[in-house]
Amino acid sequence: MYPHERSLVKKMQGKPFVLLGVNSDPSKEFLRKVQEREHLAWRSWWDEGGKRGPISTRWNIHAWPTIYLIDGRGIICYKDSQGVQTHDLDKAIDSLIKG
C-alpha cells in the first residue's frame, strides 16, 4: 500500500483530498518510527495499540488494510479490504473529485 499511497498523496496535492490513517501498531513511538522510515507524510490516529482499539472496533475492522472513501459531505462512497484494488480505488477518487 505505501508506494501507492505516497504517489496518490503527491498526485492529489492542491486538490480537495486527504489521506488519513487509523493505525493499530503497539505504541505512538512505533507509529512515528514507521512514518519516518517509510516517508508516510499523512496523519494517522493511533488506535490505542491494537487491532481491537476503539476506532477499529467501532468500524468492525477484521482485515488490514481496509479502506473507506468518504465524500466531502461525510458520506461513505467506496470500500475495499485485503488485496485493495488500487486501479478501481483511483477511479473512484477521481470521479469524486471531478463530481
Partner: protein, 262 residues
C-alpha cells in the same frame, strides 16, 4: 571406478534403510523450505523495485508462477496422505499462499471441502478463507456449516460464511449493487446464529468473542457502515499526541486507511 560407484550406491541404500521412514510433516516442511529459498530473491527484488509498475511486474511474472507451481506440488503431496494432518497442512499452504485467484487454489479448497469439512480443528482455516479470492471459498464454509460434527466448530463455519458473504460487498456503487444480495444472506444468517447460538465462543477470533458479541458488530457494519451512509465520527490522537477528528476534513474527499506495520 565402477567398484567405487557400486560401493557408494550400496552405502547410500544402507543409509536410507537405517533412517526411520521420513515423516510426512517433514515433507511439508521440506517443500515449504524449498519454496522459501526460491521466493526470497524474488521478494527482495520486488521490494527493491524502482516503482510500483516494476514491483507489480516482478510479482506477476516471477512470484505468482512460482506460487502456482508449488501450490500444485502441495496438492500432489496432500494426495499421498488423503485425510491426514499432513494433507491439511499441505492444502492450507495451497489455499493461503496465493493472494490471487488461481485454479490450484480452487482445487485445494475443493479437496478441503471434501475431506476436512468435518474436521474439529478447522475453525482457524475458516477465518482465513473469508478473505480468499477463490470463488470456491463460500462452498467450503457452507460445507463446514452444514457438516461439521462438532457443534461449536459448525457454528464458527456459519459465522465465517456470513463474514465471507459480507466481504463480497465492496468496491464502488455498481460493484456493491451487483453483490447486495450477499449482505441480505449475511444479515439473515447472522440474526439466526445470534438467536440460536449466541453464547458459542468464536475461538478463531483473537481474542475470542461470543457469536452474540461479534454479530452485533457485523450487523452494525452492514446497516451503518454501508455505501451512502454517513461515516461515524472518529476522534483520537496522532503519533505526536495531537487530537483531531474526521469531521475536521468535511469538504474534502477522505481516504480512510486502517493499517498497521506490526
Amino acid at each position: 571406478m565402477r567398484l567405487f560407484a557400486t560401493f557408494a550406491l550400496l552405502a547410500g541404500l544402507l543409509a536410507i534403510a537405517a533412517e526411520p521412514p521420513k515423516a510426512a510433516d517433514d515433507e511439508v516442511k521440506a517443500l515449504t523450505d524449498e519454496y522459501e529459498r526460491l521466493a526470497k530473491p524474488i521478494i527482495h527484488a520486488s521490494q527493491d523495485a524502482a516503482n510500483e509498475t516494476d514491483r507489480e511486474r516482478i510479482l506477476e511474472h516471477d512470484l505468482r508462477p512460482l506460487i502456482r507451481r508449488f501450490a500444485s506440488r502441495f496438492i500432489e503431496l496432500a494426495g499421498k496422505h488423503p485425510g491426514k494432518p499432513e494433507a491439511l497442512a499441505a492444502l492450507t499452504w495451497a489455499v493461503t499462499e496465493p493472494e490471487f485467484a488461481c485454479p490450484e487454489q480452487d482445487r485445494a479448497i475443493d479437496i478441503l471441502a471434501r475431506d476436512f469439512a468435518t474436521d474439529p480443528g478447522i475453525a482457524g482455516l475458516c477465518k482465513t478463507i473469508v478473505y480468499s479470492p477463490s470463488p470456491r471459498a463460500g462452498s467450503f464454509l457452507t460445507a463446514v456449516w452444514q457438516k461439521n460434527s462438532n457443534a461449536d466448530v459448525r457454528v464458527q463455519g456459519g459465522y465465517f460464511l456470513g463474514r465471507y458473504w459480507h466481504e463480497q460487498v465492496k468496491g464502488d456503487a455498481a460493484q456493491q449493487a451487483a453483490n447486495a444480495h450477499f449482505d441480505q444472506e449475511a444479515e439473515k444468517l447472522f440474526a439466526d446464529l445470534a438467536a440460536k447460538h449466541g453464547s458459542v465462543n468464536l475461538t478463531a477470533l483473537k481474542p475470542p468473542l461470543t457469536v452474540a458479541e461479534a454479530v452485533e458488530k457485523d450487523l452494525f457494519e452492514i446497516r451503518h457502515l454501508a455505501l451512502g451512509k454517513a461515516a461515524p465520527e472518529i476522534t483520537g490522537q496522532d503519533a505526536d499526541g495531537k487530537a483531531f477528528k474526521l469531521s475536521d476534513y468535511r469538504g474534502k474527499v477522505v481516504l480512510l486507511d486502517f493499517w498497521g506495520q506490526w
